[in-house]
Symmetry: C2
């Protein structure tokens, strides 16, 4: 870090080295260089930066840890200030009697998880980047993760949000109670709005007691179609696993190459199933799943001890970063969400597209809720293949919408999916969103150039 | 029913007998008499009624079964047409492979439950009025019910909404996938908007596989405070009951008077706890709850068979209608929602207020999520006591907001709570809601006079 200048006591920088750092995120999006980066430490400092910026006519780009996969946190155009929330890292309250916690937006998801463990509590949303990503960013993108199948996404845990609007006005939406019908749920509108309506400055979340026990099952399949068909059968059996992850053979090879866990790489697909609850009960559920899988020629192994389970998850979470290590290929990643009865059809279609185009497609993700991370691996420095890659993206999105799905399950639209938003939403719906945007931010200061 | 007139083939009436029927709901709200009632049978007919009404300058009041507790479905002011959705009662699809169902808005909650049973599925939200209330009304008020503690409210199951706007434009928000981050979640804004933004014409819901088994426990307490303190302890133990209902002694007496179930009426409070899941597992959970209750001097009985359980629920659901049978008293009912660590404090405060004012207050409801139905029983035809009743409402609401709660957990604001909305929401928040209202309904045709 460099010597920082101060704006009325607030850390701020206009040094090129800082500015470049804040012009990209974890996506392939190319952002522009901001004029300033500011690091407020509390709500009042956010307000002051916002007032200073808007008075100067600067647009505002709120940012958590920059682990976003859609370019939502990178500046677009000129005359921007990035407001980084990374210095707002305080867990303000853990209330084990009300099962709530209140945090500043820059708190790291994984760090909150650790603090909650002391109280035998846990916060279900667990994006793969949980060791780095912030709760504020999670709220701004309505982040999910493997546990969403059983526990839902960020939206399901977010009870109250304090937000700084572009006028500098601070409003708190929601409260600490679990149920509420008191006018329009504006909080719900803010969740997943990717920083375009205001800056989230304080968050109250619902948390849960930790489950008693966990069992992990690995099920391998010779056919990707069978893996896809097994998923709705497991859910239909009345069991709700804690996670129900899908990995195709390319993922398994990639993991083996980097971790040597002894995973079977000769199969076409693997399901990673976790059950939580009372031990005898989840053991019985495990047996039921083994039986279901067998009907689709799936073979099951059980990962019993804590360390083999943790290794497996570390490996699972590393897939996305690992894909960046492939020397000659560049990933275009999307995270489609499909109705689970069309999961098998989707996986087969992805295989087909890969074969037709002769471009490798690596798929993994949250099979239990139909949310698949699709990585189209185009040759580096091959502009023509890259163009083809984006045509494939469009083809996949069109397919997804036809079968009743969504072009993003948990990453958001940002700038990388903005060119495709029309495939998902009709004109009227986009007009309504734009009008809502004007209600909150009439002069268009907040995170311009995103979503629509 | 009377002879109906037709508007381009759509049933409509301006007969006084019909109009009076549609001027009230299940609340104490006094509505005005509409000029017309129309009964469209599909989306296209809704559009035609909307266009006809707005061309004539008539305001529109959408209505399900009229079981609302806040007056949200009753006309206010002059020149209104009630659009009743009760003829739109078709379950259009049940998809047991995707765990979704698509229904018309007039489908009765309980009838949907019955149809789902054939597929061994269930729809969790279960308001007490489930035998009468419609899914459309449930969405408009974000209805909950006893099972919300484990399964959440209507919001958590609503995947897609087709809506007719006041211009006659039809827009579908959401789709059949379980996860989505594709711009602002306008669907979430519509849920709980009490018909003020548009008319819900088609609904896709997520449904779940039926649980294997159910156990019901009755726990009685000599002190209302102990009952309140037991609730967070049960949840903190890692058990999430299917229901965790609270009934005070007045409720128990009321039930005994009408049903003679042999309930203990000498106690101060009762918890009605239901567990669902795999039998051995919930039995063990049941034992754990018995232990926890014992620490607070709670005594537990188990209702094992289906019929005693069903009777108990029938009785529980009848409390609200039973309150109307008290000859000399009139109920002012509210449904506050408080953080559960303040539940005990709230129950004690309600008792206190009742004693201080010498007006009976009967409380029951969903203790597990802090949502309590409070009934202030004022003397009939005693305007002074009624005025005092409303002062008590205000006092309770102020208390609730102070401790971080909500003035309505599942009924909504409608017209009965509109005078108190300022207690809950700040000026800026109300202004934002009004601006959002103008985005959807710039000329103010939709359900005027409600919420704010």
């Amino acid at each position: 870090m460099k010597n920082l200048k101060l704006l009325e006591g607030i850390e701020i920088s206009d040094e090129k080295e800082d500015l470049i750092c804040y012009s990209y995120d974890a996506s392939y999006a190319k952002g522009s260089i901001p004029e300033f980066v500011a690091w407020p430490k509390n709500t009042e400092e956010i307000v002051r930066v916002v007032k200073w910026a808007t008075a100067k006519g600067l647009k505002i780009v709120p940012r958590g840890a920059g682990t976003g996969m859609a370019g939502g946190a990178v500046p677009v155009g000129t005359r921007t200030v990035v407001i980084s929330l990374e210095r707002m890292r305080e867990v303000l309250e853990i209330n084990p009697e009300n099962f709530t916690t209140t945090v500043q937006p820059g708190v790291i998801n994984g760090e909150l998880q650790k603090e909650l463990m002391i109280y035998e509590l846990f916060y279900p949303p667990d994006p793969a980047s949980l060791d780095y990503c912030t709760i504020g960013g999670n709220v701004a993108t309505n982040a999910g993760g493997p546990r969403a199948i059983k526990y839902g996404v960020t939206r399901n845990y977010c009870l109250a949000l304090e937000v700084v609007l572009s006028t500098g006005t601070v409003v708190t939406f929601g409260n600490k109670s679990f149920k509420r019908v008191t006018g329009y749920e504006i909080k719900e509108l803010l969740i997943g709005s990717e920083g375009t309506l205001g800056i989230i400055s304080n968050i109250t979340l619902r948390v849960l007691p930790q489950p008693e026990d966990i069992i992990t099952l690995l099920i391998t399949f010779d056919s990707i179609e069978s893996a896809g068909k097994t998923v709705p059968k497991i859910i239909g059996s009345g069991i709700t696993p804690r996670t129900l992850e899908f990995l195709d053979s390319s993922c398994l090879s990639l993991i083996e190459k980097n971790y040597e866990l002894g995973l079977p790489t000769q199969v076409e697909a693997m399901l990673l199933v976790e059950l939580d609850g009372e031990l005898t009960s989840i053991k019985r559920q495990g047996e039921k799943i083994v039986e279901i899988a067998r009907k689709f020629k799936g073979e099951t192994q059980v990962a019993t001890d804590y360390y083999s389970r943790e290794n497996l998850w570390k490996a699972r979470r590393s897939i996305s970063p690992c894909l960046l290590k492939i020397i000659d290929r560049e990933k275009i990643n999307i995270d489609i969400s499909v109705p689970i009865d069309n999961l098998s059809k989707t996986l087969v279609r992805l295989n087909q597209i890969s074969k037709e185009s002769n471009i490798p497609i690596v798929s993994f993700g949250h099979a239990g809720d139909g949310n698949i991370h699709v990585n189209i691996l185009v040759e580096k420095n091959n502009e023509e293949e890259k163009k083809l890659g984006f045509e494939i993206v469009k083809k996949i999105f069109e397919f997804v919408v036809t079968i009743g799905g969504a072009i993003s399950g948990e990453h958001g639209i940002g700038i990388t999916k903005k060119p495709y938003i029309d495939i998902q939403l009709g004109r009227k719906q986009i007009e309504l969103m734009q009008a809502i945007k004007r209600v909150f931010d009439p002069k268009g200061f907040m995170n311009p150039g995103k979503i629509f």
